[in-house]
Each structure stands twice: as C-alpha cells, then as structure tokens.
C-alpha cells in the first residue's frame, strides 16, 4: 500500500476547504499496518465537518487501534469538487491518517446516522474502486460493514452492505475484528469471502443480508428468512452493560478546521426512558446506562486540558435527566471561568434553565427547547408530556436570565394531528414572545418545524406518513399564522426530503434499486438542500415499479410483516403495538424509571436494568411530566458500583 498523497496534493489547491482532507488532527493516530492486523477504514458518509465529531466512529477508532491485531484509519465523503478531481485524475478515496487508498483496507466500516446519506455510502464504495453490489465483490475487495442507528432497518441497503452491526459497537467490534484478522492471515484465498461472511453471520448482533432469502406476495413482504441452519433467524442488537467500563473516546479528535459541534463531548448516559413515541433513538438505545458523576468529571477535566477547548457538551438524549447532573455541574464550574458547558438536549422546565444559567456565565445567545407539538392533546399522543406552564416557566426563566433568543423545535404530520394542533405551534410561540416582552423589547422566538418521519422500532412504525402536499399545507397554515404574529420567526424542513427519508426509513430490499439509480444519476449529498432533487427519486421509483404510497403513506396493519422483523432492538412488538393504540387514544405513559416496569423488553431481554448513578430522582422533580415523585416507588434500577439484584429493588424518592 502506498500513499496517494503525492497525487492528491496538487488537487487540494483547487478545492474548497482543503484542510478537511489532510488529517493531522490532535488525537489522530498514526497506525502502522502489518499482515496480521485487520485494517479498518472507518467512514462517515457525509462531509468532514458533519462526520468528524461523530462519537461512535471515534470510539471504535480508539478501541480498534488499541488492539494488537487491528489498525483503523478514517475518512469522510469528499465534497463534490474533490470528487470530480479524484475521478478525473483517477485517484481513489483515501484515508486521512496515511492517505492510503480505501480499496487497500480489509474493512470499509460505515457509520449510518441519517437515511439521506445512503447514496453517499454507494459513492464512497465506488470511489474506493469496490463494486457497489455485494454479489460483485471478490476476495480482493474489502468487506463493507455498517453500524449506527439506521441499521435498525437495514433492508434498503442490503444489496450494498456485506454485514450490518446492530446496537452498541464497543464489544462486537473486537469480535468482528477477530474474524476479519483470521481471514486476512489466511491470505483471503479464492472462495473465502463467502466463508468469512458466514462466520460473521454467527457473531451476535451481526446481520449478513446475503445469508437471508426474502419472499414477497405482490407488493407485500412475506418473510425474510435465513438460508442456512447456522444463521440466526433473528438478530438481536448488542448492548453494553456498563458505560462506565468504556470511557471512550479517551482522546477526542480536535480538528484543524471548523466542524459542527466543535467542542469537547462527554457522553453522560446512553438510552432514555422518557418514551417519546416519535423518537427512535430513545427506543432503540434502552436501557439507560449512566456514567458515574466522578467519571464524567474526570473525562471533562482531562478532555479540556488535553484539547484546549473552552466548551464541553454533556451529551445524552436528555441530559438534565442525568442523576449526577448537579454534582457534575458543580465540579466543572470550579475548573475555569471561561469554560462553557452545553446541554444539547434541554428538557423543557425551569430547573433546566436554572442549570443552563449556572453553566453559561458568558455567551447567552440562544436557548433551544423541543416541545415537539403545539397542544397538550398532541403531546399526549406523542408522549412528550410537557405542560404549557412548564414551557412558559422555562421561557420566562431564559429571558429573565439574559438569553436573547429562544428557539422551539416542533414536528408536524404527527398521528391524529388536526389543524388545531398544528396551529397550536404558533399559538405557543406567540405566548412565548409575550413572555419575553416582559423582560426585553423586540423579543423574537424562532420556531423550527420538521415533517414527522415514522421510524422502525417505535410505536409509530405502523403510521402512514403525511404526503408532501399535506405537509406543505400544514407549513402554509403555520406561515400564514406566523406572518401575523410579531416576533415569531418560522423555519421549516423541505417536505420533499422528508418523503425520501420516509422511503428509506421503512422501505424493504427492493428500495435498494431506487437508491442505486439515484446515485448513478449523480444524487449524492441528499441531505444538503442544494443537492437534493425529488425528481431523481420519483423517476427511480417509477423505473423500479415501486410506489411511495405503499412504502411511505400507507398505514400498516398489526399482522403485517415489517422489513425489520428479523432484527431486534429488544423491544416486544406487542409492547409497541399497545403503545401505538395508547397513542391513538391520547394516553400518555410516564417515565418508567419512576414507575413500575411496562415490560417493553429492553431490560429483561438482555438481563440488564437501567443503571443510574443515584437512587434519588433527578433534581428538578417531575421534569415537566407532572409525574408525582414525592411518594416512594419501588423501581427496578441498578446503582452504579453497587448493582442491586433484581430481587432487591431500590426505594426511590422516600427522602
């Protein structure tokens, strides 16, 4: 393998932002390749700026490079200007560390975090000089493996990805590496590719689509079944029992050029028990596993010292729910006056604003809340149990503490949504502006509206997504209403892109042909408005004889086979179905950490319980849910460091 740098260097003077192709970041490794080491190229199929901060990729990067039998390098999707230079000058996709050709690695490992990056995956494989379709690859080609949240419906990419990995990657990556390293040491002889894939299929959490047969009845999917007896009929996701055992990344990458989320990121817990019904991340990452406050504090202190960042984000799906939050905040504030702490997923209540005020002494530019829906009825449907008074208290707290802008996130196109619910969004925003005007003149509230896309392994997986014209109609309702409302600024996502996200979220294997055609027609970077073109997708669907109505807009039935039924996020399908019925009845479901177990399956299936750092409910009380935490509940949580046996429940809330 030799570096492509001499051929690449002259091209870099001709492209935008060349610093994203040079590597050299602080925290970048200098892997030394060897015949006994499986060589991984970890790829985020979007731009460097979007992909570099991805923590999942960085975690695997470190774990692999710590192994004696592995090396890992990174790359990201080259922007269109460099892609065109690479193709013109016949330079392949390359790694950033040693600038080696992508095709010379043993594994191309993709992180799939967004459906609209799928065409970029094909493009990266092609730029690597590797056939895009699984059946055309030979022993000399790398294995194409993908992990990340999108793999909970792997089918649309099943023709292009050799193996998918479900769930937490920390442990399984090493098990995969052993199989790949064996394959490499054995010389990748003729016929060995199918054998290595067969071996991978028996690694728990790994799905090898070519080992499964799909049957259809007309447009209807009948079943996806293993072709061989040793291949599992159902692939369970992987779950690490303790986040505390995996304090990664230890050396977060510090890029030389500006990226999104350009700050230190420390994951404080994984999983979420809030049970928001639209939120796939909250469903598929259960159970909750917290770090101890002590470990968070040391990761923050070490990370800031090492990186030179002046901002740290405490990341999770709802950071104010972290039971160690106050201890951690106290610890960080003692470090340095110029350090800013970001809480990227703010809960909507006054406690959270108080916390944010404590954390952000300087730079109070904007605070963002996500009520997600405009009326209490709608919020009960989606199980985002925020009361209006909680939102108003939060907004009042924000403006009175000196924040100048408030941003509110909403979804539209939700199940059972009426125009009254839709217009509740602008109504809430107007009330927030009025609250702000008590404190400052010229207050403005930005409302950001996204079209709802139902995702696999959520109670809404059976829901027929709103059509483009229906979403456009709702956005127009909001635009007209916002125009009349001083101080309300409306932003919205393009419903056309929402349609395609929906197609790939719940499509089956036949959608692969559509993805391939759109890619062949130049449709890369589809999550970038300037590159998205709906007509390419419409044409490709027609050419494949497929219907967006069938895949996207149709309500699914209880007995219907879903394209992801053969993979498992641990959630019982009957739990999800019951939750869907409850949603339609506008019945909310309080946080299960402080109530008896609903038996969703996520804890029991893996013999793990919600692992929290404190038996006391998080400071801030009911956190907007209205849930009564004052009386003691017996809940099945394990405490970090002293894990309670299931027979010894912990008394909560009795102090």
């Amino acid at each position: 393998m030799s570096s492509v740098w001499p051929r690449l260097e002259p091209l870099l003077s001709r492209v935008e932002r060349p610093a994203r192709y040079i590597g050299c970041e602080d925290g970048a490794q200098t892997p030394v390749h060897a015949p006994h080491k499986a060589a991984w190229l970890l790829i985020y199929p979007d731009t460097y700026e979007v992909g570099l901060p991805n923590q999942g990729l960085q975690i695997l990067y470190e774990i692999l490079n710590e192994r004696d039998d592995a090396v890992a390098e990174r790359t990201y999707a080259p922007w269109t200007d460099l892609e065109s230079e690479l193709r013109t000058h016949r330079v392949p996709l390359f790694s950033l560390e040693n600038h080696l050709p992508a095709g010379s690695f043993d594994v191309l490992g993709f992180n799939l975090a967004a459906e609209l990056t799928y065409t970029n995956l094909l493009n990266c494989v092609d730029l690597a000089g590797v056939p895009v379709r699984v059946e055309e690859r030979r022993e000399e080609h790398p294995l194409v493996i993908a992990g990340g949240h999108c793999t909970y419906n792997p089918e649309p990419l099943a023709d292009f990805v050799d193996a998918f990995v479900l769930g937490d990657g920390e442990e399984v990556v090493s098990e995969i590496n052993e199989v790949v390293a064996d394959w490499k040491r054995s010389g990748r002889t003729e016929g060995s590719r199918v054998q290595v894939l067969r071996r991978l299929a028996s690694v728990p959490g790994v799905y090898v689509p070519s080992m499964y047969a799909v049957t259809y009845d007309g447009p209807r999917l009948v079943a996806i079944e293993p072709r061989y007896p040793d291949v599992p009929a159902r692939i369970e996701k992987r779950t690490i029992a303790s986040l505390e055992d995996w304090p990664y990344p230890r050396q977060q990458l510090v890029p030389l050029t500006e990226v999104v989320h350009d700050r230190l990121n420390v994951e404080v817990f994984r999983g979420c028990t809030r049970g928001c019904r639209f939120c796939q991340a909250g469903m598929i990452t259960r159970p909750v596993r917290e770090r101890s406050a002590e470990q968070v504090r040391s990761m923050v202190a070490d990370g800031l010292r090492r990186s030179g960042y002046d901002e740290v984000a405490l990341t999770s799906l709802s950071t104010a729910d972290f039971s160690g939050i106050e201890a951690v905040v106290g610890g960080i504030m003692g470090l340095d006056d110029n350090i800013t702490v970001a809480l990227p997923s703010l809960r909507v209540d006054a406690f959270t604003v108080g916390l944010a005020a404590q954390l952000q002494k300087a730079r109070r530019a904007g605070l963002t809340f996500a009520p997600e829906a405009g009326t209490w009825r709608m919020r009960q449907v989606i199980n985002k149990l925020i009361r209006e008074e909680d939102l108003y208290a939060a907004v009042d707290g924000a403006f009175s503490s000196g924040w100048r802008r408030v941003k509110l996130y909403f979804l539209t196109g939700l199940p059972t949504e009426t125009d009254e619910d839709t217009l509740g969004i602008t109504e809430l925003a107007r009330n927030c502006v009025a609250i702000g005007q008590r404190h400052q003149k010229g207050t403005s509230v930005t409302v950001s509206v996204g079209g709802f896309v139902p995702k696999p392994f959520t109670p809404f997986q059976w829901f027929g997504q709103n059509t483009v014209s229906e979403l456009e109609r709702k956005i127009n309702l909001l635009r007209n209403d916002a125009r009349k409302s001083r101080g309300v600024q409306l932003r919205w996502h393009d419903p056309k892109a929402t349609l395609i996200e929906g197609l790939m979220s719940r499509g089956d294997r036949r959608v692969g042909a559509v993805i391939e055609e759109v890619w062949r027609n130049g449709g890369t970077f589809q999550e970038w408005t300037e590159h998205f073109r709906l007509d390419r997708w419409v044409d490709a669907l027609a050419n494949a004889g497929l219907s967006a109505d069938w895949y996207v807009h149709r309500h699914r039935t209880e007995d219907e086979a879903l394209p992801w039924d053969h993979v498992s996020a641990g959630l019982h399908k009957d739990f999800l179905w019951q939750d869907w019925r409850d949603a339609l009845d506008a019945v909310g479901l309080p946080d299960c950490r402080w109530t008896p177990c609903y038996d969703c399956g996520a804890c029991t299936g893996y013999g793990i319980e919600h692992v929290v750092a404190s038996a006391v409910p998080p400071a801030g009380g009911s956190q907007g849910t209205g849930q009564d935490l004052s009386v003691g509940h017996v809940v099945p949580v394990s405490l970090l460091g002293r894990r309670a046996a299931p027979s010894e429940p912990v008394e909560v809330g009795s102090t």
Binding site: D26, T257, E258, G308
Partner: protein
C-alpha cells in the same frame, strides 16, 4: 506583557486557513496554560494578534503572533515557551522563537512589517523562459494588474512592490530557514523553476499569486514558501524576531511534510 512567537507552517498544514490557524492557536494558548488576557463582552476571546495573513496552500518559515498576558512571566517560563507551544501545535506548525516585545506604544505587526521574502516554485516554462520573464518585469517602469479590492476592480501598479526578484539557479529548491548552504541535502530531485522575491507589504501587500500573474499567463505556482518578514528601519531591516542561529534539529516538519 506582550509576548511575540515566531512559528512555521509547513507540510500538510499548509492547507489550513488563516481563520483556522487562529482557532488552533487559541486552543494552544489554553493548553500551554499561560495567563492570557481575554477580551470582554458576551464572547470573551484570548487577546492575540497575527501579522500578515498567509494564503491557503502557501507555506512559511516566518509567521508571527503577539499574545497579551495579564501577568508577567519570568525568564525561565519565557525560555520554555518555544517547546511548550510546539508540543500543543499540530505537526508542521513549530514555534521557533519567543520574546517579550513592548505592548504600549508598539505598533501592530501588520503595520510594522514592510516586506516579505518568498521562494516561489513555478511550472509552465524553462529556466530561460523564467529568466526572461524576470528581466522583463524588473526592466519595466510600471506593471499594472487588475485586482479586486473591497468589491471593486482596480488597476494597480505593482512594480514598486517588487523590491527584488531573481531566478534561483544556485541553491535551487532548498528553502529551509536553516539551510547549510553548499552541500545542502534538501534540494528536491526536480526543483524546476524557483524564484526568490522580496515583496513590499505597505500600504497593502502584493500576493505571490499576483506577482506570478504579472510574469505572464503561462506560469502556474508550485511550492510557495514565505522565508522571512522584514521591518525596515534607518540602518537597514530586521526580522520581527530572528531565528536562533544554527540548524533546527528539533523541527518536526519533516514527518508531516512527507
């Protein structure tokens, strides 16, 4: 107290922009744990000032940064700074010298610097072609180019900015600041055409790309390296901060440049 640092920008990091370099220094200053002064307001930023900007893709042996400190530092701390800065800067950005400079009454680096010396590698013609182009430019009374300034297209005479220009036929290609001269081992196999130019920077700077354009349409830049910045004074000129004498064995640039 104001501290001036001299540093390199060599190898792959040449593709890092001026703005990105400022952010890199901001983090480096925090990591070096110095009592850096901060601006006030909503977004406090460390107070430091660059000299002349360097175009993306150009390299340099002579970049400068002035940092304001809230507390004075002692001689030992000052002496340790070149090493401490280099340890927290990316490969290719090496701190080569540090000194205390007057902070009150001192003019900014950007105003003080009067010229830069460049090594400019060119493609597009032979050594003789280059010699002819150099002679033609030097013989001209005035050389007008059109360039954009504040959104307007202007015609500028750039001849006064070209203080010296020569075809480097002897020591071709080696642009190391610590070049040993005869017997130097850093000359590339095919250096091609390499010019040496001293370009004035006041009242505004002439960019190497503009100089190349003035030599004729066939020339394309290869490796462009700033070798020095100069401040004129009555008895001649001096660098804002000179390199220590002798070779620089601790430079890390080779590993990143390859």
């Amino acid at each position: 107290m104001r501290v001036r640092a001299r540093f390199t920008k060599l190898g792959k990091v040449r593709f890092v922009s001026h703005r990105d370099l400022a952010r890199i220094w901001e983090r480096a200053l925090r990591r070096a744990d110095l009592p850096v002064a901060y601006s006030g307001g909503f977004s406090p930023r460390p107070r430091f000032h660059f000299g002349l900007a360097l175009s993306v893709a150009h390299e340099s042996w002579a970049e400068y940064l002035d940092v304001d400190l809230v507390d004075d530092i002692d001689e030992d701390t000052l002496a340790s700074l070149t090493e401490r800065f280099s340890a927290v800067l990316p490969m290719g950005v090496d701190c080569t010298a540090v000194a205390v400079v007057p902070s009150i009454g001192g003019i900014s680096l950007q105003e003080a610097v009067t010229s830069s010396t460049w090594s400019i590698g060119l493609d597009g013609g032979s050594l003789d072609d280059a010699a002819a182009a150099v002679d033609a430019l030097l013989d001209a009374q005035s050389v007008f180019i059109t360039r954009e300034r504040k959104g307007k297209t202007v015609n500028d005479d750039i001849r006064p900015y070209v203080r010296s220009l020569s075809l480097d036929r002897s020591q071709v290609g080696c642009d190391r600041a610590d070049c040993a001269g005869a017997g130097c081992e850093h000359v590339p196999d095919d250096p091609g055409v390499v010019l040496r130019a001293e370009i004035g920077t006041q009242p505004r700077t002439l960019r190497p790309a503009e100089l190349i354009g003035a030599l004729g349409p066939m020339w394309r830049e290869r490796r462009v390296v700033r070798l020095a910045q100069w401040i004129d004074h009555e008895d001649g000129r001096q660098e804002p901060l000179a390199l220590p004498a002798g070779p620089l064995p601790w430079l890390r640039t080779e590993t990143c440049a390859t």
